[in-house]
Symmetry: D3
Subunit: 247 residues, 6 copies
């Protein structure tokens, strides 16, 4: 398993269906990371283990979006082998600090020892060298207001934007949010640069990813497993007739 | 999928075994709703997805009882397609308000966008028109004391009584609770009528359901999946000998 | 586990959905046997093991309908603990003899030793006392023609009629077959009585079962798991309105 | 569910991973049929049922490749709702006739009644109107020698070529077989046209499919689920760098 | 199912793989209890039910380590039949009291009624006689500091030490912690004796268990399912060559 | 994955429970091969795929016992990655030749191309270099009579004895068979040596394995997954009291 080559730029794929063969195939396709979505994907605690096991053949990093900032969920994501943990709906610096505490062993935090990866033959990790990348999600009005304080929290690798929730929170459409060159997205990127913290976002499609990259977002979820299936069928089918529009 | 025809009266079936074929068959039998019980049924977050998918052919509403008032659990129940969320052990108006916040998108609440129903081909729902019915359970002494305050919370569709827990909480047997014409159940119904909020209860059997209906409870869980199996075998077996007593 | 009390008369339930909780509940309901249908139910070799394990708490005999007369399938049905094996589409005495050979250890037949029941803590059965009941199905025109020869085969416990397939084979409707007092069903029962072999049939509903019992069929599949669910919901639902017609 | 619009031309996708969400998504993508591969895919009798159920939302026909010409396997494929059955390694007209007998109800054949589709709420099919499309595979030297006799068998919808096995059988590479304009593939197409029987082939990629279409093969498996995933990731990834070569 | 014969001494096995056949076999092997680990084992809420069901044939007590002190998780562990609940990372007397409240029905606590064991045919337990053994884990520096207050909480059966986490918390290696005759482990045992509360610990191997027993720990997790597999293969393999070192 | 180091001698473990974590752990323990038992273990065609995938991390060869000599089952065992196929109840040289034909690609046999191992990321095998080891089982009276003819069949790697079935077939107890120094087992070994074909046997315990090794059997199934669990618990438990007798 490689690590993300550049600290501030990567391309990932977002797993919602949670099927092991599909996940394993995508894990080997060339993305920097795949993410298992426990918040809005069909992946509960039991499937999480099987999918992490399926990833084991992959050549990319494993990320998990936990359903909430619950420390037990963060610990489990790390125990199954995630090197990146995405935490939804983080609103304050205190919440961000609690995430750092949940994800790190003492003395930094209070994470409990017990890796699951040896269950499927992977080597036992080393507590001392565990360096989880934590990506709290900025997707509410409160979080926008508290952004500088959140960015100042020690132990975060990046902040990660959820454009769907952010647009809902701001009373805008997603299209308006993405189109607004001097709006919230530009503000977030500027704040991150100033704080020296990387930033990323869920794109969900190459088109959105390109737009978000222009804003300066470095870590991008460029597609989902559903998007990959749709792109694959669209690629294969038009050979027999009129091309279908994709994205 | 139809919606509950009358706002204050419905008949539902309670799924505890959590098996998809059984659930799908009951979903099409004529109940107003089926409920997937995550608190005291064999249904964790992973099975929830498969059961919601199995319900998809049903002609009734989908309800979920979440294991607790955890906002992530409430969000997931809605994401898999529930139109009714039953929340156990609600004790105060503050807790009730937190449930309303968890179940509604901004600006009403803080629910996060991400429906799972499109994963199995159902149409993507519309955030603007999402109107979750929330049924907090009244089943503790504290909740009885706070009932008027709870009923005054904006955004609840009904309160739902758990007679088993309520009788335990009040130091009564279930039979005593059901027999007491001027006791807690009558008080609850009166308070609901005064507040203009619908009320329901878990019955578990047609006999209990009839008794609860007499009190004035409108939304009733008249049976469980186990009860349906037992009723079905009792119906089929006596044809060959002495009838068995049922309920 | 009890054994069928009377050699020639019993009431069973037919499992098509193949879900373990549903199956276990029905297994304890008072039938003489439940049958796991591998021919026309959702039960392949992998689910068969889990369902046999689920039955283990039941108070009735376990029957399996194998998908075909394949000796490996017959052996597996017995290995998971079936005491009754129903074999579809048997047409000749030679086929019947092959079934007897497949189901019995040497020197009677060629069954291979290897019970699976100890895998889930049940006691290891005893090869010497194994006495599988074999119920070949009579459901084709050829089988009707060869009935006397089939009935003369040593080692059969009963013949079992498939009225659906038999009516298709004879170019009749099911209703016609069941209504014909002097037709094929009467002929079969008479032949069985003459040969001193028990006979049974798939009914699928109490009404059909009563009709088949009148012909003299002793072992009857009076319902299916689907039928039990439908009967159970029909019993529970009419309490709230007009009764539904069942069967 | 639509039926294949033109009798002799269609585009299908071949499922090897056998995962329900992936399969359901592909089933709705615009292919004429998807095939569940029980011979060389990860799909045994138990998974077959769940995948057929997952397909139920699809807008295409369901095909199954059975593991062998075993009548029980052919019956099960039809019982779960397949309208097309692909049978591997058919070598003689007698074998082809046995397939026709296995797939049709009396009086044409000996198929046994018992559809599984009602288990998941689909309407019960009608025995009289069942018209299974049977596609025996021609992929051995013997089958080539017997092709005219096989094509003369009543009740076949098409013959289907397995170029991988055929090239192995003929001692050629796949590339040689596909490149040979006057070789076995041309001979097969000519024989089919003369006999008035449709012909198809497994392509596995659009490139191979175009080549096979030039020969005159009408029913083509243009891709697999693995191929769709690979095409999808290849489409999504190059937006960020150099395009990857696909197929 | 027997209960632990002596209040303060028992030998248990720790399940991390969470496979039902393996678990059932170990449950019958002679341990006083087996534990299902939801914190650092591959056992989420959905698998928990199946494993509790698999244990049902066992001749030992069922213990569950919940992922956190979440009352819903504690309730579920008890609902599936655990008589012992191990709660990780308990730090204060208030937290310990909350656990007692979560695990007991009114009037002692606020546990909600709804046993799952009847789902698989086990008798319905009796609310009045429910006496859950609660084993909060002492494995942080704060917990050490608060130990006397925690031990004074009414309703605990024992405290249970996690030597891995405790050594991390104290900045020691596990070996140092186990070797220190007058260190934290001795202090804990002394405090427990003074308070009249039993104490236990996770050992993970017979060697560690012997060491911990010398300190005076009574309830010991002497091995894991992985450890049992490794011991079993080590026992079997050396018969054919040089013995392997174990533990 | 290593290959069996010496052609005629190896030690294997026999999987009956068919659970992936258990199987994967045993696969890495030091046996020369593990076998997945489809005849008398809880492993049907669907579980076979998952277990072969779980083995993928193992450091030993994969063997499969197919349920019967059905060519489709033999092909599937090889497709999922088995290098050894054990076939039960082989009785004649013709049957042995049919197995060789089923297991080899043209021109030697008629095996169909379609490996499943690439589904989980393993490299695609090469048809030309496929060299399946075939171990037909000798366990009937007929097979004993035909042993020389069977041993003369080209393409067998070894014959494999089933002592349980063989003793049943010969009307002896297993103990008598194993004790008889000049009986059937000695005869078989002598015939194999004369024919230059390796021989093996199912032992099931180290004690039986030592006895069989004395006869000269080289490939030995020294234990089962159940036996490993029992040995592991027996090793761990006596440390706390009197040792238990094992085997
Ligand atoms: Mg979001
Ligand atoms: Mg309650
Ligand atoms: Mg039939
Ligand atoms: Mg082929
Ligand atoms: Mg710990
Ligand atoms: Mg044998």
């Amino acid at each position: 398993m490689t690590t993300v080559s550049k600290l501030t730029e990567s391309r990932g794929a977002w797993m919602m269906l949670g099927e092991p063969g599909l996940t394993a195939r995508i894990a080997g396709a060339g993305f920097d990371w795949i993410l298992l979505d426990q918040q809005h994907g069909a992946i509960g605690p039991d499937r999480l283990v099987g999918l992490a096991r399926a990833h084991d053949h992959g050549a990319c990093e494993l990320a998990v979006r936990v359903p909430s900032a619950d420390p037990a969920a963060i610990g489990r994501a790390l125990d199954v082998g995630a090197s990146i943990v995405v935490v939804p709906l983080v609103q304050t610096a205190d919440e961000a600090r609690a995430i750092v505490a949940a994800a790190n062993y003492p003395p930094v935090g209070g994470r409990s020892w017990g890796p699951l990866t040896p269950l499927w033959g992977a080597p036992t990790p080393d507590a001392a060298s565990a360096k989880p990348r934590l990506w709290p999600m900025i997707e509410t009005r409160t979080a926008l207001d508290q952004l500088d304080e959140i960015l100042a929290v020690e132990g975060l690798d990046a902040v990660f934007i959820g454009p769907y929730d952010l647009s809902l929170a701001l009373g805008m459409t997603l299209a308006e949010l993405l189109a607004d060159d001097r709006g919230p997205l530009a503000t977030i990127v500027a704040a991150c640069r100033k704080a020296g913290v990387a930033c990323g976002a869920f794109a969900g499609s190459p088109a959105n990813a390109k737009r978000l990259a222009k804003f300066g977002f470095g870590h991008l979820a460029v597609t989902t497993d559903l998007g990959i299936i749709d792109a694959g069928t669209a690629f294969v089918l038009p050979g027999w007739g009129a091309p279908r529009t994709l994205y």
